[in-house]
């Protein structure tokens, strides 16, 4: 089974000591407005990839007029190379669930839902047991911790193996018992979410950060990271390195610093942000992780000199062809065409003219796809062809220099 390394983890914001319920009690002793203010002050942005300011999202939901509101914790974690939410749920359920309770208090919800990806079903018994403990401690239930009128509970909903359900509107469709097909936005979930009610959807890590911000204050949070990217980021590191795993690092860390830390040698390429992210070459290793430069949901995959980047790209494109929900044409057909293009390069049966057309297709997909899956799926194609041009073009001439 999966290990629990909480005792040995090191970090400045999330991987630290915390006693369950502390932040909830503190939040409940404050006015909702003041909790929101702390979060606003912290400049926390969503950790699920899109980087939307958390306080704005919560303010909109709090302001929406409705008897029923929902908090959804997005634990669908399906981006290739991402496993930090697994670590948070397994080792730090206190941070995550406390964050969900605080969110419920601030927006005025009665129910929180953890959308847990089907692949994490093995965690279900321990998470359910944990929720039971929270109920016993009156951190869930009625008049929570003596706060008159604050009634709130959390349930877990299992996913069924569809990457696109991580997209917030597809996730809501799935919660409602439908196919996980993304909706048009607007309207956004903050006003029209689960059961058409105002809903906050946040990533596991975002909610965990909220717990620490409420405990220590927004000012404290801002002392970590950079001006525009405050706080820390959990990075899921895999691939060619000595010490793969989850690392908590302040935003603003450079790629080279990260490579050094994880014991990566002879690194040729780093894929940041998973299959839907970008692939960087050596010349770009001085770039920094953060919303102002290389933003990411936290997936970092490392490739050393022995790797064949066309094979890597093929693996990514196969992923998107399988996971596209098929609702809109740019994504459904586009990804198939890009994969075909990769196979043509592999066989050496392509023209430069055609590859250029495919690049244009990729750019159109970025603007014309209905949801983030199709909008970001060409990223690897475009950056690998651009940043590893020499290696890839050698295929055309029958050589495999880069290999």
């Amino acid at each position: 089974m999966v290990e629990n390394l909480r005792e040995t983890r090191q970090g400045e914001v999330l991987f630290t000591d915390y006693t369950r319920g502390e932040s909830v009690k503190k939040a409940l002793s404050m006015e909702r407005q003041d909790v929101l203010f702390e979060i606003k002050d912290s400049k926390l942005k969503g950790r699920g990839g899109a980087g939307f300011p958390t306080s704005t999202k919560w303010m909109l939901t709090a302001a929406a007029k409705s008897e029923e509101k929902y908090v959804v914790c997005n634990a669908d974690e399906g981006e290739p190379g991402t496993f930090k939410d697994r670590v948070l749920l397994w080792e730090y359920p206190d941070l995550v669930f406390d964050g969900m309770i605080i969110a419920g208090y601030v927006i005025g919800a009665k129910e929180g839902i953890l959308y847990l990806r089907g692949e994490y079903e093995y965690m279900l018994p321990s998470l359910e047991a944990y929720l039971e403990e929270l109920r016993k401690d009156n951190l869930l239930g009625e008049n929570i911790c003596g706060k008159e009128g604050f009634n709130y509970d959390i349930r877990i909903h299992l996913g069924h193996g569809a990457y696109v359900c991580g997209e917030e509107t597809a996730l809501i469709e799935s919660l409602e018992g439908h196919r996980g097909e993304a909706r048009n936005r607007p309207p956004f979930p903050v006003t029209t979410g689960f059961n058409k009610k105002p809903t906050v959807v946040n990533n596991v890590e975002t909610l965990a950060a909220v717990t620490r911000i409420v405990e220590k204050g927004g000012e404290w949070y801002k002392t970590h990271g950079t001006d525009k990217s405050t706080g820390s980021k959990l990075l899921s590191v895999s691939g060619d390195c000595e010490k793969p795993g989850v690392y908590e690092l302040p935003w603003g860390t450079t790629i080279s610093e990260l490579l050094e830390k994880v014991g990566a040698k002879n690194t040729k390429a780093v894929q940041v942000g998973g299959a839907s992210g970008v692939c960087l070459n050596k010349a770009q290793f001085d770039r920094t992780l953060g919303y102002e430069d290389v933003g990411t949901g936290g997936s970092v995959i490392i490739f050393d000199e022995s790797r064949d980047m066309l094979k890597v790209l093929k693996n990514f494109m196969e992923f998107f062809v399988e996971e596209s929900c098929g609702q809109c044409i740019p994504c459904r057909v586009g990804n198939t065409k890009l994969l075909e293009g990769v196979e043509m390069i592999e066989k050496g049966e392509f023209t430069f003219g055609y590859i250029n057309k495919l690049k244009d297709l990729g750019k159109s997909m970025q603007v014309s796809s209905k949801c983030g899956l199709g909008q970001s799926s060409p990223n690897s194609f475009l950056t690998i062809l651009e940043n590893f041009k020499d290696e890839i073009l050698n295929y055309a001439n029958g050589g495999r220099n880069g290999k």
Binding site: P80, Y122, L158, G177, N315, E322
Partner: protein
């Protein structure tokens, strides 16, 4: 399907509807339970779910067809899923696949003749730092070698 089997299935689904409610949002939970117990959701079960939730059977089928973990065709009693995504691929998942295929005498996507195993590929399971990774039903296994993978399967009943 025998009448007795049908009746038993109807009863089971009625209980699930009792537990999760008649609301449309209960559909996936109900389907999940049926899938887990029977390893597939047969036509008759789809019709019964539709009848009890008062939706069209096509709605039920459409939802099943969308999700990888739900299926209408019976599979083996144990579902083996091997991660095919990049980080596991780099840790030589192919060697594990070869060994499993050889040992069970089936190819990826197939079911053994005794219906004990169905072997499939799956996409990233969130164990990329522990690859190659594999799941047998709900359990996950990590840092596999071909030998270890086969040993694990030998222990499955």
């Amino acid at each position: 399907m025998l009448v007795a089997e049908k009746n038993a299935l109807t009863e089971e689904i009625e209980q699930l509807v009792e537990k999760y409610g008649k609301d449309r949002s209960a559909l996936l939970e109900i389907l999940h339970e049926i899938q887990k117990k029977h390893r597939s959701i047969p036509d008759f079960a789809q019709q019964e779910v539709a009848r009890l939730l008062e939706i069209h059977p096509v709605e039920v089928y459409s939802v099943i067809s969308f999700y990888t973990f739900l299926n209408t065709e019976p599979k083996g009693r144990n579902l083996v899923r091997i991660c095919q995504t990049i980080s596991c691929d780099m840790k030589n998942k192919q060697a594990v696949v070869n060994a499993v295929e050889r040992e069970l005498g089936v190819k990826i996507g197939e079911t053994t003749r005794d219906r004990k195993f169905t072997v499939e590929y799956t996409n990233c399971m969130g164990l990329c730092d522990q690859g190659p990774a594999m799941a047998v039903n709900e359990r996950v296994y990590m840092k596999l070698t071909p030998e270890k993978a086969v040993e694990i399967l030998n222990e499955v009943k």
